[in-house]
Amino acid sequence: MASQIVRRVLRARASEIFAAQSATNPSSARVFSCFDRSLSSSAASGSHLIRATLFPGDGIGPEIAESVKQVFKAADVPIEWEEHYVGQEVDPRTQSFLTWESLESVRRNKVGLKGPMATPIGKGHRSLNLTLRKELNLYANVRPCYSLPGYKTRYDDVNLITIRENTEGEYSGLEHQVVRGVVESLKIITRQASLRVAEYAFHYAKTHGRDRVSAIHKANIMQKTDGLFLKCCREVAEKYPEIKYEEVVIDNCCMMLVKNPALFDVLVMPNLYGDIISDLCAGLIGGLGLTPSCNIGEGGIALAEAVHGSAPDIAGKNLANPTALMLSAVTMLRHLELHDKADRIQNAILNTIAEGKYRTADLGGSSSTTDFTKAIIDHL
């Protein structure tokens, strides 16, 4: 136990000093390299527990979070969950229902998993997703979309990643009414944010063995804004000569995606196009109930989340499909470089769905959440 305390102190000090590479001192277990652009964080030692923040969320959130915990325990994943719930009242420090402690926890642990959260309707508080995004500076949203073998959709050969800039663009929220009946909305593109997301896209492509990055834009019409985005992408592309880089106009991209999604590999886009294209790709593989997603923030923070809604109508009935949250948790594991565990769990999930014996209602089966979870554990 003394060694554990020593290790924790060493870890804290090391992360304060922003130690260079994680290959230095293997005995100080998790050394997070906290560069701005550092995204593959730790070389986690198998024996030591990684703390991760878990937001179960609302509606079906708690059930599917429970599934994830069970599967992770059965697979011996060295993660210790720190659960946080959305409060019932507005925390004045964050202007929303998320407490300051929750945000601090994510900042400390650098890794988190978030279930679906329903934003309560009303005024005087920020939406929960917006709070997380702004406070944690989550600048890139990564959605790997691949066809699930065994779950047949009209598209069988989808294997692409959409990386979407998450902080600016059309969603800056800066609107005003000029005169009655005329509204202006500002779309903002900055060099810094575009460089950041382009860097992440190329880094991701390199670390995951992808060979093409496509930048999606509408620079023939919005010449300065998307033009700046493209210029930043081109600059970053020069630093990665082994990765092919191309630029595709968004209407071409939409058409090609629905005709032949195998043409694309990694897509990097500003905010609005990213929103639409990532949902389109989710639709290609079977919907939001099966799509993993991960938000990357400054300082190497990764917050994996399930993008579907909280489905209040089936909450508590043991009918929910935990696939999206589990695949997101797998993305989180890959971010932590626990690739063998990630592969094991991912294969278990894919095999369970492919087998077809245990499927939840939204995939056309009739199993309950617990049966599905047990089947995955059996497949491990």
């Binding site: 598209y155 609107e175 509204v183 909305s185 779309k187 939409c254 629905v258 609005l272 929103d275």
Partner: protein
């Protein structure tokens, strides 16, 4: 009696030999049950401005000219050459369009990031062509992953994100203004509902992102809702644009007429065209209070790429169907019907498909097939 029976028997054998039994059926369909009674003088040939455009534009507009000549349609074309890298549309072209009121054009290639504003957008703004229409539907003979697609996307064409008002605030920070006005939103909603009413469509869906852009898209939605109350026979609903794209690839049969602001309309139209068979096949046009410009419906690929151009394998179907729409707009319904059924017959027979439809024919072969299918 045998002598009288022979021609009947011959016709029956012919029609059963014909693998695609379209010939007999369309002959029955095409006879109009009620005659179209024109005004005296309606048959004088109408002048239509023709802009061949860039890339594959000259190829496909040439195809239209050939087919029109073969049909002896009462239109004649006044050709004007414009290219996408010109600074602005020449005045003589604008005058011609204003005189003729109808124009047929190929794609104009806007150089990316080149500081030249798009001529397509300029044309639409100057002539105030505020509604852009793309009709995406499944054509028999064209294999697609989705069935039962019959969507008309009506897109606001003058404002929104394409207002073109951009500036650099400080180096490295650029702003672009998206402008939504009540006037434009109201008239596009009015057009959409009127189109649905005149074409016996049952549902109009407004596509928006008002949960994020509350004021801008909120204003658009408000205008749509107001117009919807005036058409109680037409169902109206609203859908967020990212959900809309997801539904389009999963269940496209739920959509009928869709009305959208400028940018979302671009994406939705191209997605809908892609699921229904590709942008090389979908007709469309831009219409305003006084003028109309017909072109290939969805904008993706309307200029083509070098390989297609060199091998002359561009798909003329979209522009041919758009010119059929133009003939109807000019009030020549029987010519429009003839052209449309000839093109549909060629598509369904499947022997003359260009590369984007899975075949290997050149543009000229498709044109010849269409002319042969005319009657």
């Amino acid at each position: 009696m045998a002598r009288r029976a022979i021609p009947i028997l011959k016709r029956l054998v012919q029609s059963s030999d014909n693998p695609v039994n379209v010939g007999l059926a369309s002959r029955v369909d095409r006879t109009r049950s009620v005659t179209y009674m024109p005004r005296p003088g309606d048959g004088t040939p109408r002048a239509v401005t023709l802009i061949p455009g860039d890339g594959i534009g000259p190829l496909v507009t040439g195809a239209v000219e050939q087919v029109m000549a073969a049909m002896h349609a009462p239109v004649y074309f006044e050709r004007y050459e414009i290219h996408g890298d010109m600074k602005s549309v020449p005045q003589e072209v604008m005058d011609s369009i204003k005189k003729n009121k109808v124009c047929l054009k190929g794609g104009l290639n806007t150089p990316v990031g080149g500081g030249v504003s798009s001529l397509n957008v300029q044309l639409r703004k100057e002539l105030d062509l505020y509604a852009s229409l793309v009709h995406c539907c499944n054509y028999p003979g064209l294999p697609t992953r989705h069935e039962n697609v019959d969507i008309v996307v009506i897109r606001e064409n003058t404002e929104g994100e394409y207002a073109g008002l951009e500036h650099e605030v400080v180096p490295g920070v650029v702003e672009s203004l998206k402008v939504i006005t009540k006037f434009c939103s109201e008239r596009i909603a009015q057009y959409a509902f009127e189109y649905a009413y005149l074409n016996n469509r049952k549902k109009v869906t407004a596509v928006h992102k008002a949960n994020i852009m509350k004021l801008a898209d909120g204003l658009f939605l408000e205008s749509c809702r107001e117009v919807a109350t005036k058409y109680p026979g037409i169902k109206y609903n609203e859908i967020i644009v990212d959900n809309c794209c997801m539904q389009l690839v999963a269940k496209p049969e739920q959509f009928d007429v869709m009305v959208t602001p400028n940018l979302y309309g671009n994406l939705v139209a191209n997605t809908a065209a892609g699921i229904a068979g590709g942008t090389g096949v979908m007709p469309g046009g831009n219409v305003g209070a006084d003028h109309a410009v017909f072109e290939q419906g969805a904008s993706a690929g309307n200029v083509g790429n070098m390989k297609v151009l060199e091998q002359k394998k561009a798909n003329p179907v979209a522009l041919l169907l758009s010119s059929a729409m133009m003939l109807r707009h000019l009030r020549f319904p029987s010519f429009a019907d003839r052209l449309e059924s000839a093109v549909k017959r060629v598509i369904s027979e499947g022997k003359n498909h260009t590369k984007d439809l899975g075949g290997n024919c050149t543009t000229q072969e498709v044109v010849d097939a269409v002319i042969a299918a005319l009657d």
